[in-house]
């Protein structure tokens, strides 16, 4: 597998405030990597460093094997796309005019605008001005702009924040389609459900440090409790630990036909985050 992003011992300070400390991770080609953490944990700062919008204080940051600062070069800008919660669209222009501008900046054929609009299902609305669009539609236009040059790497900063479930599903479908076409995705979110649905691997970022990293299922196994919850016909819930003593109890309830439901006690990513950091994901 090719390494697309390689970050080692990254540190970033703003004046005397430490935003990132000893952050290390790698992302392989074709992965969807989730960077999870509450607001102010350093997610956006990481994206800004990776996309050469800001400089690192220390450490090594490589994208496609080159230092992140090289991403300022025009030819490297074509290798990645970025979607942020600040759309950066021209509100007096139509959807089509906005995308046509970027199609010319990326020196793409005009047909790329239609392709991108079809991808986010907005071709019929192409003449609408940005100022007339809902938040969800704006987010889809921003996604269309981010992917119209078919980037190898896509940065998504809170892509579905403040979106309704229908629009969120549109975005998820689009991202899966892109990933299937080989695009590597770096996603930051504080929505653990989103991370569970989309990501191959996640990293928990808290106060500028990575607290855990791995595939969601691996993390659940590592941090999960070894128990199940049994609901009985008398309305009580019993927590059963893995082992012969509790297995006997479960056997007896089942023989007596008292069991109505058995639930695994698998933790969510949010539970694991709270367990590791002692704080909530807000």
């Amino acid at each position: 597998m090719n390494t697309v992003i390689d970050v080692q011992h990254l540190k970033k300070t703003f004046n005397k405030e430490t935003a990132l400390q000893d952050v290390s991770f790698t992302i392989q080609k074709g992965e969807i990597f989730g960077f999870l953490g509450p607001s102010g944990s350093g997610k956006t700062t990481t994206i800004k460093i990776l996309t050469a919008q800001t400089d690192k204080t220390a450490g090594s940051v490589l994208l496609f094997g080159q230092p992140a600062s090289e991403m300022k070069q025009s030819q490297n800008r074509k290798r990645f796309g970025i979607l942020t919660d600040n759309s950066g669209l021209y509100t007096r222009l139509s959807i089509e005019e906005n995308l046509l501008l970027y199609s010319n900046l990326y020196q793409l054929p005009d047909s790329s605008v239609k392709e991108a609009l079809d991808f986010v299902n907005l071709y019929a609305d192409r003449k609408k001005k940005i100022s007339q669009l809902s938040k969800g539609m704006i987010q889809r236009v921003t996604l269309a702009r981010a992917i119209m040059h078919k980037p190898e790497l896509l940065f998504l900063d809170e892509p579905t924040s403040a979106l309704d479930p229908v629009n969120t599903q549109h975005i998820y479908n689009g991202l899966r389609k892109l990933n299937n076409m080989g695009t590597t995705i770096f996603l930051t979110t504080h929505d653990m459900g989103e991370a569970e649905i989309l990501c191959d691997r996640v990293a928990f970022l808290h106060k500028g440090k990575i607290r855990a990293i791995g595939a969601p299922n691996d993390l659940k196994q590592e941090f999960g409790t070894d128990s199940i919850t049994v609901e009985l016909k008398n309305g009580t819930q019993e927590i059963i630990q893995n082992g012969s003593q509790d297995a006997e109890k479960l056997y007896q309830w089942m023989q007596a036909n008292e069991v109505t439901r058995i639930n695994t006690n698998e933790p969510t990513l949010g539970d694991i985050f709270m367990q590791i950091t002692g704080s909530d994901l807000v």
């Binding site: 800004k48 996309t51 919008q53 800001t54 400089d55 070069q73 025009s74 030819q75 800008r77 074509k78 970025i82 942020t84 600040n86 759309s87 950066g88 669209l89 021209y90 509100t91 007096r92 222009l93 005019e97 501008l101 970027y102 010319n104 900046l105 990326y106 020196q107 702009r145």
Partner: protein, 235 residues
């Protein structure tokens, strides 16, 4: 620097579309035209009178519009999006400046026509006017880079408008306040001195000094603009 004509043209066309739909800013082009028309109607025919609408064009059209275009791009986060595209610093600054330069040339030509000014040496004056426009565009860019919003930009640009538009008038008070002699070296004053010299018998020095002064102002302002752009547009 990596410069592409396609990208410059794309930014120019985008700015034209945005500007033509932003009436709060585009209405400013009418100010020097109305002033020029009124001056013409009042029968004034001095170089000072002719140059008031010209200097107003530079401050209220060139500087103000450029400042607002940049400030709005910052306010709406569109400048960052442009910077994350393959457009280079050169593409962005040239694209935006070219649009304001075209607007300035059109408004200047119309103002000169409306005020009834017939320059004795149109060629030399045109060069001086274009060099001045380059300087005022840099000044507008600089103001825009310091502003966080259009509102802030409109305020930041005011002292610039005052100093550069009315700077030549300060010279009339220089006998009472010698410090005001410094206003002689403002590009607006130099432009006026050049135009005045062109109307009579002039030496090569009368032409070269104002032109060089305006060029120095332009180079210095663009140098600072490039530094501030790089500094302010990286977190």
């Amino acid at each position: 620097m990596n410069i592409s004509m396609t990208r410059i043209q794309a930014i120019l066309v985008k700015d034209y579309k945005e500007f033509s739909r932003n009436y709060a800013v585009s209405i400013m082009v009418l100010m020097p035209l109305i002033l020029a028309f009124l001056y013409n109607q009042s029968g004034t025919s001095s170089i000072n009178a002719y140059f008031l609408p010209i200097n107003i064009t530079f401050s209220m059209v060139t500087t103000y519009i450029q400042c607002c275009l940049i400030a709005e791009e910052k306010e709406k986060n569109t400048l960052r999006s442009l910077m994350l595209s393959p457009a280079s610093l050169g593409d962005i600054l040239i694209g935006k400046s070219l649009f304001v330069l075209i607007v300035t040339i059109v408004v200047l030509a119309m103002s000169i026509f409306l005020v009834g000014y017939t320059p004795a040496n149109l060629f030399v004056l045109s060069i001086a006017l274009i060099l001045s426009a380059v300087f005022y565009i840099a000044l507008g860019t600089l103001c825009g880079l310091f502003a966080k919003s259009i509102m802030e930009g409109s305020i930041i640009v005011l002292p610039v408008v005052f100093i550069f538009s009315f700077g030549p008038l300060a010279l009339t008070l220089a006998t009472a306040y010698p410090i005001l002699k410094i206003a002689e070296w403002l590009p607006s004053t130099q432009l006026l001195l050049l135009a005045d010299a062109l109307e009579g018998k002039y030496s090569i020095t009368d032409v070269i000094i104002p032109l060089i002064t305006i060029i120095i102002w332009s180079l210095l302002s663009w140098f600072f603009t490039a530094i501030i752009y790089k500094k302010r547009m990286v977190d």
